[in-house]
Symmetry: C2
Subunit: 212 residues, 2 copies
């Protein structure tokens, strides 16, 4: 009897933990489309959560990307490394954001991006295989991901135009306004890399801005 109870509480703990872990992603989906409880269950059956420690590399350049990640908690980034061994941040992802190497994921060719964990994090893993299955099983998800990608395209276009027309200082100000929570968490060199300047210049620029 006692062992039964033990098993039972373990079951409930796991059950509730799953729900706790998954509620954020379901909320995220619910912002754009409505899933039935059965569809939610099906969706949940295709994903898994994973706890990852800071500095873990989830995706390496040169490899074919198999997974997208949704961040439950913590902080990740994607970046490239060019010939001179200089890193350039493509994107950050904190709570409630998705991150992946879309080029590699879609083309199933080796990618150029690294995906790195910046802070101990909990991520939801969605494999390409499962995502493709889900598109067929729950066609509404086409809409969900279409909307996500539309939003990220718009943000990307704006960033591109900003890089062409604004100074580093202006880009930094915009970044601060747009992602105030990220600023707190990020080491300065990561911000510099996202803005598109060297850490040395960023430091100088920051000092200059403080004087004003």
């Amino acid at each position: 009897m006692r062992s039964f109870l033990l098993r039972k509480t373990a079951f409930f703990r796991a059950y509730f933990r799953t729900f706790e872990n998954m509620s954020l992603i379901l909320q995220n989906i619910a912002k754009h489309i409505v899933l039935t409880p059965e569809e939610e269950t099906l969706f949940l059956s295709k994903i898994e959560t994973r706890t990852v420690k800071a500095k873990t590399i989830l995706q390496n350049a040169g490899q074919v990307c198999q997974d997208s990640y949704f961040v439950n908690s913590g902080l990740l980034r994607s970046f490239t490394i060019n010939d001179n061994i200089v890193e350039h941040v493509l994107s950050f992802a904190c709570e409630g954001w998705w991150i992946s190497d879309m080029y590699s994921l879609l083309s199933q060719k080796p990618g150029n991006l690294f995906i790195e964990v910046l802070e101990d994090s909990e991520v939801v893993v969605l494999s390409k295989t499962h995502q493709d299955q889900l598109y067929l099983e729950i066609p509404k998800l086409e809409r969900f991901f279409r909307i996500l990608i539309e939003n990220s395209l718009v943000a990307n276009q704006e960033r591109l135009m900003d890089n062409l027309s604004l100074t580093a200082e202006e880009r930094f100000e915009k970044f601060c306004k747009k992602y105030p929570t990220l600023i707190q968490k990020l080491p300065q060199k990561q911000i510099a890399s996202y803005i598109g300047v060297t850490p040395e210049f960023f430091s100088k620029m920051k000092a200059r801005m403080l004087k004003k």
Copy 2:
């Protein structure tokens, strides 16, 4: 009898012209999804073709964007103008490409982009209203547009990283390889603006490259 024949030939002419005008966009769709003949007809009923002359502005910054354009023939571009009255090209669109101000189209807020006709062109116009209807009437189109947008996001991300890590010369070389047909058609200052340099610097750079 004669007038009947006349009407008949007029009908056929219109019929075939419609088909001629629309076959490119249907082919474009067929690359990613399969539509039934009825769905194709429905789709065609929601769009119209329009002949536009060079220098026409199809979309003005400050206005809410209502339409996406698919290019049957000719050449368009989208661009912003910053405070200093400097233009920056976001994208070109020639035969078989889509162009719009996605930010404004999605948010229905005033946009920052201009869309201008560079060469006399024929475009297919798809209004936001019709597009939204189509998503409901032919859910497969969610997939089609998702794929289109995915591809453009990937291209944008690459361009962003290139702007951060490559020199103007390298960006130009990449542009030439990627869009060889565009190079022929575009005035040099448009290329310069896309690459992200002034026309003066571009000219100097070109001279330097020819010497090698």
